[in-house]
């Protein structure tokens, strides 16, 4: 919070010089307030896009990680191949390919939102798979043996014994991915998604005030991500006290 205040102070002070024109986003003027409102209207898209994408990528990530830990060599290879291939494609390239390329292959037209979700989710799923794999591998063999010895099958062992422990351990990494995803959602602006970055771009074209507008954009992401980080930390602490009580 102290950093934020300092940052605001620096910006305000330098705003006194002639280079700055804060009027463009000054909430006390009618046009400034309208501009701010316009910029903030991208917020819900950014959040929805990232949240949907991460929900999907966690599921895909887990489904890719599990065969990666199998004793079957082909299952392991399939999982490995998926991770290596998907991880090698830059997110921006994947967004363009899904939006412009995929409809031609499938014959289905995909809206901007879902093109963004698919691209972000796919791209992130490779990282999620690696995170899950590391988390699951960190659980001692004795936990499986104890679960098997009380007659649990593989699915119940994963569901009730291994994953609850693994997920606690990978929570910081999952939080990282969520933050990363929020930032990467800005890339979806290139295909016209009306999220935060796109709104800022559009406003710059009208107002010719990139410095102020992009500064506000930086602050928007900063606040959003600080809130998410705090939420993840709160959740981590809650899980820990669960075990400690």
């Amino acid at each position: 919070m102290r950093i934020l205040t300092a940052l605001a102070a620096i910006l305000t002070l330098s705003g006194c010089s002639s280079n700055w024109g804060w009027y463009v986003v000054n909430p006390s003027t009618a046009s400034g307030a309208a501009n701010l409102k316009f910029m903030l209207s991208g917020l819900s898209y950014s959040v929805q896009l990232s949240a949907t994408a991460i929900a999907i990528s966690v599921v895909i990530g887990l489904l890719v990680a599990l065969p990666g830990l199998s004793s079957n060599v082909w299952a392991r290879r399939a999982s490995r191949t998926y991770v290596e291939l998907v991880r090698a494609v830059p997110i921006l390239v994947l967004i363009l390919w899904v939006y412009y390329g995929l409809p031609q292959v499938t014959g289905l037209s995909i809206g901007v939102f879902w093109a963004g979700v698919i691209a972000l989710a796919l791209s992130d799923s490779a990282f999620q798979a690696e995170i899950f794999r590391a988390g699951i591998q960190s659980i001692a063999r004795g936990q499986y043996e104890a679960a098997y010895s009380v007659s649990l099958g593989y699915r119940d062992t994963m569901r009730y014994v291994i994953l609850p422990q693994a997920i606690r351990r990978i929570l910081p990494a999952l939080g990282n991915q969520l933050v990363y995803m929020l930032k990467m959602s800005s890339l979806v602006s290139v295909i016209g998604m009306q999220e935060l970055t796109r709104k800022a771009n559009e406003l710059v074209v009208v107002e010719y005030r990139p410095l102020e507008i992009y500064t506000v954009l930086v602050l928007e992401y900063l606040v959003l991500i600080l809130i998410v980080s705090a939420a993840v930390r709160w959740f981590e602490r809650r899980l820990q006290t669960d075990e400690r009580s």
Partner: protein, 249 residues
């Protein structure tokens, strides 16, 4: 076999390799209902591997193992059926750290036996009382002493109401002052007529509880004898050497 008629566990020429190393060399053994067997031997002799084969935690190469005339093999449903009747207690307890003591006990009955939560709770509380730690039910395993954790692990296995209990060095990871509380629970269990196979170096316990002693070395069963004979007049040279080391340390 001393008690009962038909064996409850049968090993027929069981061999097992870890890569080039042969851990089990043609083991043949029959265990009768309610029999109490203690297996001892130097480390690396294959005794843990032997009992881990009974509930399929280890696979084996040649031969057959039968539990209640069901072959322990690779078929998943068959394995789960065997595991529902064979409880196991581990050296490192292996309690589920994210679950309370009571939840540790309820998981098997609910997910392995399809019991309702209410029934599983009653069952869990009954066995916690039996291992004399009913007051710890709502704690997490890490708040318990080693001896208490191992008793929880025993109760967790008993909640499956098994016919057979396997103990893999149950007191080896415990501080000395906690060993007796675990052995006591095991001795009580032996009196209920439970079939037990115990891998341990606790020779006092073996003498009191075992019907038969099995001495293993280098993947073979070297000697099988009632404890009186085994401790006073072991036949094989290897058993003599082993007892010499373990009893006079």
């Amino acid at each position: 076999m001393q008690k009962g008629e038909s064996p409850i566990i049968r090993f027929d020429g069981v061999s097992k390799y870890f890569d080039d190393f042969q851990v089990l060399k043609g083991i043949t053994l029959a265990v009768g209902p309610s029999e109490r067997i203690v297996i001892c031997g130097p480390s690396g002799s294959g005794k843990s591997t032997l009992i881990r084969c009974i509930n399929g935690l280890e696979g084996y190469g040649a031969g057959d193992i039968f539990v209640n005339d069901v072959r322990v093999g690779s078929d998943a449903a068959g394995l789960r059926a065997v595991r529902a009747r064979v409880g196991m207690v581990f050296q490192q307890f292996n309690l589920f750290p994210h679950l309370t003591v009571r939840e540790n006990l309820m998981l098997g009955p609910m997910r392995g036996r399809g019991m309702s939560a209410a029934d599983a709770t009653r069952l869990a509380d009954r066995y916690l009382a039996r291992v004399r730690i009913p007051e710890q039910a709502d704690k997490y395993p890490r708040h318990l002493s080693g001896g208490q954790q191992q008793r929880v692990a025993i109760a967790r296995s008993l909640c499956m109401e098994p016919q057979i209990m396997l103990f893999d060095e149950p007191t080896s990871a415990l501080d000395p002052e906690m060993i007796s509380e675990v052995l006591e629970v095991m001795a009580e269990l032996a009196q209920t007529g439970m079939t037990m196979i115990v891998v341990t170096h606790e020779m006092g316990f073996a003498r009191r509880v075992a019907d038969r002693m099995i001495f293993m070395d280098h993947g073979e069963i070297v000697e099988v004898a009632p404890p009186e004979t085994f401790f006073t007049a072991p036949k094989s040279r290897r058993a003599q050497d082993f007892l010499q080391k373990i009893l006079n340390h």
